[in-house]
């Protein structure tokens, strides 16, 4: 422990600087004549406190500042001019005396300005010190100091060791040791409170694990003192992705498969996504909910890339299955990976009505037909039924044609399921319906007639 120096009487009284006057600046816009000595107060070891001072030339002539220095362990000057320095009449010279005790104890410093001396006193209470390992040894940290973790490349991490030590002769306790902010993670710190006997220490680590490229700041707090943690994440760009489809062209009512391959093997692992946007080309149609990826029934699927691989995976599969829906339009696929954004478009042209199935049901009064299909232009205007007997002879020279424009238009407006539909048609029969052999069903929309769908009624 450093013994406290006895103040000399002439120091306590202050020594005149001649026409130079020394002031202490306790705050903005304030100044007090310096009275010869000043007690900086209690400052924990490893921290510092500055005292702002001002020399003013009160005379009419310039004065040369020939000596400006401070002696004493823990004391230094900051922001001071080099000497010799000419102080013009009426001007000020501002500087700071810094008290930065290296350990707990009492300290004194002597400030000399030309031939005048001023006493500074300071104390450091017993407190835990915080150090960081640097080049094989531990370096004491001051409060607010920045600890640089350096660069961590693509998915890797950097690691630094820290030490909390009790340099005093008494038992000291750290109530909190907290790492916060940024991708910094405490590793191996004992549970708080941490009680340390004299000269005892604990060592722990902090990982810097950046998830993406960027500059990251975090904070280590040991009780009331904080230290800034600084790291940089470096992610070299992914190789450019490309979208691949299992077909050259698509139509409505299909399922397709998409894969994503990179221009080369990726240098590291990461994630991205493929999204779908649908633009109907049909007037009045706003969307088709069936245009989606089947993996998760949504318009986007996450993908992952492994280091060393060039093929992206969708939930472990090399392809993602999607539906083209039942509405004419454009499907825009967008793959996003790192900074890459790549698009591909699938065009679904308007087509005649597609009949998926026709089922029949004989009822006491006749026959019912249930027709499932889709009209991707949502413009069905007519449906024709041509019945044949069991010998294949048409029952009428012409099919039964029914105008369906209005009911279909209302159905598509009120049911947002794209162009798919189920139509129930009922045909009363007068006579022996068992003679009914088959029926051809054909729709017409703005694109033209559909393919005939024949169903046997036996």
């Amino acid at each position: 422990m450093t013994a406290r120096l006895v103040a000399l009487a002439w120091l306590a009284a202050g020594v005149s600087l001649g026409q130079l006057q020394l002031y202490r600046i306790p705050g903005p816009g304030l100044e007090e004549p310096f009275k010869g000595q000043y007690d900086v107060g209690l400052v924990p070891a490893g921290d510092f406190r500055d005292t702002r001072l001002r020399i003013r030339n009160l005379g009419d002539a310039s004065v040369t500042l020939e000596r400006l220095r401070i002696t004493g362990v823990g004391f230094s000057l900051e922001g001071h001019p080099s000497v010799p320095y000419i102080v013009a009449p009426g001007t000020n010279v501002d500087f700071r005396v810094r008290f930065e005790p290296p350990a707990y104890g009492s300290y004194s410093g002597s400030l000399r300005i030309n031939d005048a001396y001023y006493l500074f006193l300071g104390s450091s209470p017993p407190t835990l010190t915080v150090s960081v390992e640097d080049g094989g040894s531990f370096r004491l940290l001051t409060a607010g100091e920045t600890v640089v973790f350096g660069r961590a490349e693509g998915g890797s991490s950097t690691y630094l060791r820290f030490r909390i030590e009790n340099p005093s002769s008494g038992v000291l306790t750290a109530r909190n040791v907290v790492v916060s902010g940024g991708p910094f993670r405490l590793d191996g710190a004992p549970a708080t409170p941490i009680t340390l006997n004299p000269r005892e220490m604990v060592v722990f680590g902090i990982y810097f694990e950046p998830p993406t490229a960027g500059i990251y700041l975090g904070q280590l707090a040991v009780d009331d003192r904080t230290f800034v943690l600084d790291g940089v994440g470096l992610y070299p760009p992914f190789p450019a992705p490309e979208l691949y489809f299992d077909r050259q062209t698509y139509r409505s009512g299909q399922q397709g498969r998409i894969s994503v391959r990179l221009a080369g093997a990726s240098g590291f692992s990461g994630t991205g996504e493929v999204g779908i946007a649908f633009q109907p080309s049909i007037e009045g149609a706003t969307d088709d909910p069936a245009v989606q990826f089947l993996l998760n029934s949504s318009r986007s699927v996450p993908l992952s890339v492994k280091a060393g691989e060039s093929a992206a995976l969708f939930g472990g599969n090399s392809e993602a299955v999607f539906q083209t829906g039942t509405t004419a339009g454009l499907i825009v696929f967008t793959v996003r990976l790192g900074t890459h954004v790549k698009e591909a478009t699938v065009t679904l042209p308007p087509e005649p009505v597609a009949i998926d199935s026709v089922r029949h049901n004989r009822i006491p009064t006749g026959i019912e037909l249930k027709i499932a299909g889709f009209d991707n232009s949502q413009s069905a205007s007519q449906v024709a039924f041509h019945f044949f007997d069991v010998k294949g002879r048409p029952l009428a020279p012409e099919p039964i044609r029914v105008t369906v424009e209005k009911p279909f238009r209302e159905y598509f407006q009120n049911n947002r399921v794209g162009g798919m539909f189920s139509l129930l048609a009922s045909f009363p029969v007068a006579g022996d319906s068992s003679l009914l052999g088959s029926v051809d069903v054909e729709f017409t929309n703005q694109v033209g007639p559909s393919a005939k769908h024949t169903i046997k009624l036996q």
Partner: protein, 259 residues
């Protein structure tokens, strides 16, 4: 002989025989990984999953005309639209279901208690317990046909088709089904649908078999609609619709549900 065919003007009306003339096409119902029973709308390779009609189902089957669902404590009978029309108490655990050729509920088997029930009108009649498989695993149950109920029963490494009298529970007929793997479904006329190596197989009573190449191995098979099977693979991550059409089976992927 001539006859006349008349066309109703009902095509221009919104209601026909109590049903809308035009509507979204219904494919069936599936049970998702959370146990929610959802309607499937769609045609061909274009499907949409609807909102759940039943939650926390342990077992489910649909014929296109009706549905049977087992929750922890109840048996539910649903109509074609997925509306619950009948409920009844049930023991815990899963159940196996079967429908007749017209898609009406026909029989059910409770896995934990080993009880077999046959539909009689609108009621369920328990088939006498001495008909039980005697500690063997019941893999699937078939519909009632000619006063009897068929069951697929595993005994050791072998799978047997057993036919029991609905009235007495006596075993009327039993035959070994070589090569049948689980999971499996028993359809009318002793048609077995089962998960084969590399796909799905449909074996008819006469032994004729049709194979569907699939890229997945089935974890579960459930009837989801008229001639449609819900094929669940990869622990629920892949759902397929297998259509047992008259022209031959076909399949498409179904939208998945992220829990």
């Amino acid at each position: 002989m001539t006859f006349r065919l008349l066309v109703l003007s009902a095509l221009s009306s919104l209601v026909l025989c109590g049903q809308p003339a035009l509507g979204p096409p219904a494919v069936g119902f599936v049970r998702d990984p959370s146990g929610a029973v959802r309607p499937v709308l769609g045609v061909r390779a274009n499907f949409l999953l609807g909102l759940p009609v039943v939650e926390r189902a342990l077992s489910a089957a649909f014929s296109g005309r009706a549905g049977l669902v087992k929750t922890e404590a109840e048996i539910l009978v649903l109509d074609e639209a997925g509306q619950v029309i009948e409920t009844g108490p049930a023991p815990p655990g899963t159940a196996e279901f079967a429908f007749d050729q017209n898609g009406r509920p026909s029989s059910m088997f409770f896995s934990v208690t080993g009880e077999l029930f046959a539909r009689a009108g609108l009621a369920w009649r328990r088939v006498p317990s001495e008909a039980g498989p005697g500690g063997e695993n019941v893999v699937a149950v078939g519909p009632q046909e000619r006063g009897s109920v068929s069951m697929l029963v595993r005994g050791g490494d072998e799978l047997w088709l057993r036919r029991l009298s609905v009235r007495t529970g006596a075993v009327l007929h039993s035959r070994l089904l070589p090569g049948i793997l689980e999971p499996a479904l028993l359809l009318p006329r002793e048609t077995v649908v089962y998960a084969a190596e590399g796909g799905l197989a449909i074996r008819r009573a006469g032994g004729e078999e049709t194979f569907v190449d699939l890229p997945f191995q089935a974890d579960r098979l459930e009837l989801m609609g008229d001639s449609r099977v819900h094929f669940v693979a990869e622990g629920g991550a892949r759902d397929l619709l297998i259509h047992l059409g008259d022209d031959g089976p076909s399949w498409h992927e179904l939208p998945g549900v992220v829990p």
